[in-house]
C-alpha cells in the first residue's frame, strides 16, 4: 500500500513529514490524520527529532478533508467522531512544527497549517476556508485560530465567502512568516528547522508553550508563567553552556539537559 505520509530525517534533528496522496490532492481523510498523529507521537518520544517540517507537494499542501467520508456522517456519527481528538493530539505536540506550504491549503488543509508554529510558503500558495460553499463551517479550529491570527474583519470575510488568500496576503496578515520561490520552499523550511534544531531543546519547548498560551490566558498570567519558565531554565545545563559559549566566543553545544 502507498504510504499516506512519508517520514524521514533529512538533516540532523529535523524530521520531514510529506503528505503523500497527490492523486487526492492530499485530502486529509481519517486514515491520513490518524497516521499523522502516530508520526507526531513517535516524534514526540524520539530524542533525535528536534523539529518537524510538514509539507505537501509543489502543487498542493492539502486540499481539505475527505468529502466522501464527511458526507456519510450524520449528526450522531459526527458527535462520536474521532477527528477532534486527533486534532487535539496535533495541538498538544510539544516540539516546533514548521509548515512548508506550496499550492493549495484549503479547509482542513488550512486548519492543519494553523496548527503549526511557523509557516513558510511558496509564491503559488493559496489558503482558504471553502467550507461555506458546502453549507458547512470550518470544523477544526478554522474560525477560532484564524480569527485570533488575523482579527475579526478578515476572518469573517474569508470564512463567509470562501475567498482564496494569496501567499502575499498570507504574509501581510501573519499567516506565514515568509514567502519564497515555490521551488525553494521546502529547502528553506528545512534550513529554518535546522537552525531551530541546533538551539537548546528545553528552551525551545518552553518558548512554544509560552507563545501558544497567549490565546488561553491573560497577560498577567502569561507574564507569570513566562517568569516561571525563565527561572526553570536556569536549572538546565544548556543555559550554562549557552552563556559560557558566549563568553568564550564559541558555538554552544546543547544537549537538551
Amino acid at each position: 500500500m502507498q504510504e499516506l505520509i512519508k517520514a524521514e530525517i533529512t538533516v540532523d534533528g529535523v524530521m520531514l513529514l510529506t503528505l503523500n496522496r497527490a492523486e487526492k490532492r492530499n485530502a486529509l481523510n481519517n486514515a491520513t490524520l490518524q497516521y499523522l498523529c502516530e508520526l507526531f507521537e513517535e516524534a514526540e518520544h524520539n530524542s533525535r527529532v528536534k523539529v518537524v517540517v510538514l509539507t505537501g507537494n509543489p502543487y498542493c499542501f492539502a486540499a481539505g478533508a475527505d468529502l466522501s467520508e464527511l458526507a456519510e456522517m450524520d449528526a450522531v456519527a459526527l458527535q462520536l467522531d474521532i477527528r477532534p481528538k486527533l486534532w487535539q493530539k496535533i495541538d498538544a505536540f510539544t516540539k516546533p512544527i514548521v509548515a512548508a506550504v506550496n499550492g493549495y491549503a484549503l479547509g482542513a488543509g488550512f486548519e492543519l497549517v494553523l496548527h503549526t508554529d511557523i509557516v513558510l510558503c511558496g509564491e503559488n500558495a493559496k489558503f482558504g476556508l471553502p467550507e461555506i460553499g458546502l453549507g458547512m463551517l470550518p470544523g477544526a479550529g478554522g474560525t477560532q485560530r484564524l480569527a485570533r491570527l488575523v482579527g475579526q474583519q478578515l476572518a469573517m470575510r474569508w470564512a463567509m465567502t470562501g475567498e482564496m488568500i494569496s501567499a502575499k496576503q498570507a504574509q501581510q496578515h501573519g499567516i506565514c512568516s515568509e514567502v519564497v520561490p515555490t521551488a525553494l520552499t521546502l529547502e528553506y523550511a528545512i534550513q529554518l528547522a535546522s537552525k531551530i534544531a541546533k538551539q537548546a531543546p528545553l528552551a525551545i519547548r518552553v518558548i512554544k508553550q509560552s507563545i501558544k498560551s497567549i490565546h488561553e490566558i491573560t497577560l498577567s498570567q502569561g507574564l507569570k508563567s513566562e517568569r516561571q519558565n525563565f527561572v526553570w531554565l536556569a536549572a538546565t545545563k544548556d543555559r550554562n553552556e549557552g552563556i559560557n559559549a558566549f563568553f568564550e566566543k564559541r558555538k554552544p553545544i546543547f544537549r537538551g539537559e
Binding site: 519564497v180 520561490p181 521551488a183 525553494l184
Partner: protein, 263 residues
C-alpha cells in the same frame, strides 16, 4: 486549431499569434479575447514553443476595444466597463507578463487604446516605422487600462506619461523608441524578417533562465534593493539547477556552441 479572429502558427520554436480582424483594425471583441486566451494558455505550457510573437493583420496592430460592442444607449443604465476589464483585459495582460517565455510584440501599424498597452505588456516591442501609439482613452472620458498607467510612467517617466495619457496624441514609433518605450523600430518592409530573426534566436536560448530574468525584472518594480538582492539569490539558486545551465557551462568549457533545451 481553427480560429475566426486570430491566425496561429508554430514554426521553429516560435508561436506566432496574429490578431485578425483587419476590417476593424484588429480591435478586440469577446470572441477574439476567448481565442487569444486559449492560445496563450496553451503556449504557456507547451515546451516546444519557446518564444511568442504577437502582431496584427492588415494595416493596424490593434485598436483596443471594439466600440461597436459598446454602443451606449443614452436612456439605459451606465455600462459596467470594469466587468470586461476584469474578465478579459486584465487576465490577458497578466498572462503576457507572467508568460514563462519571451513575448515579442511586432507593432505593424497603429496601436491604440488597450492595443497600445497590450504592446507595452510584452517583453520586447519592435514597431514598424509607420506605426504609432495612441493612448486614446482620454478622448472618450475613460482611463488608460490594460496596465497603461502602470507601464507608461515606468518606461517614459512622469512628464511624458502625463502628456501621452491626458492628450491622447499619436506617438510615432521612432519617438517611442527614443523615449525608451519600445525596444526597436524597423522599416515597414523589414519588420517581419527582423522579428522572425529575433524570435528564432530567443527560441534557442535557455528559456527557463529567461523566464526567471523576466520575473526578476518585473518584480524589481515592487521591491526594495535588499528584497531584490534576496530575489536574485533565490532565482540564481533555482537557475543553477537547470539543465541549460549545465549545458551552458559545458559548452563554454569545451569551446562549442551550447544546445539549450529550455529546461
Amino acid at each position: 486549431m481553427d480560429y475566426k479572429n486570430i491566425i496561429v502558427e508554430e514554426k521553429n520554436g516560435v508561436g506566432y499569434l496574429t490578431l485578425n480582424r483587419p476590417q476593424a483594425l484588429n480591435s478586440f471583441n469577446v470572441d477574439m479575447h476567448h481565442e487569444v486566451a486559449e492560445v496563450l494558455n496553451l503556449w504557456a505550457k507547451k515546451q516546444d514553443v519557446r518564444c511568442i510573437v504577437i502582431s496584427g493583420e492588415g494595416r493596424g496592430f490593434c485598436a483596443g476595444q471594439d466600440l461597436g460592442d459598446r454602443v451606449v444607449d443614452p436612456n439605459a443604465a451606465a455600462p459596467d466597463l470594469g466587468y470586461s476589464i476584469e474578465t478579459y483585459y486584465n487576465p490577458l495582460i497578466k498572462m503576457i507578463v507572467n508568460m514563462p517565455k519571451p513575448v515579442i510584440c511586432a507593432v505593424n501599424g497603429v496601436a491604440a487604446g488597450a492595443g497600445a498597452n497590450i504592446a507595452l505588456a510584452c517583453d520586447l516591442v519592435i514597431a514598424a516605422k509607420s506605426a504609432n501609439f495612441v493612448q486614446a482613452f482620454c478622448r472618450l472620458g475613460l482611463v488608460p487600462d490594460s496596465g497603461g498607467t502602470w507601464f507608461l510612467p515606468r518606461s517614459v517617466g512622469h512628464a511624458r506619461a502625463m502628456g501621452l495619457t491626458l492628450l491622447g496624441d499619436k506617438l510615432p514609433a521612432e519617438t517611442a523608441k527614443e523615449w525608451g518605450m519600445i525596444w526597436d523600430v524597423a522599416e515597414d518592409t523589414e519588420l517581419k524578417t527582423k522579428v522572425t530573426e529575433l524570435a528564432e534566436r530567443l527560441a534557442k536560448q535557455p528559456t527557463f533562465g529567461l523566464s526567471l530574468i523576466k520575473k526578476a525584472i518585473h518584480q524589481s518594480r515592487n521591491h526594495s534593493f535588499d528584497e531584490q538582492m534576496h530575489l536574485e539569490r533565490d532565482f540564481q539558486r533555482i537557475a543553477g539547477r537547470s539543465e541549460d545551465y549545465r549545458e551552458g557551462v559545458q559548452a563554454f568549457m569545451n569551446k562549442r556552441e551550447p544546445n539549450f533545451q529550455g529546461l
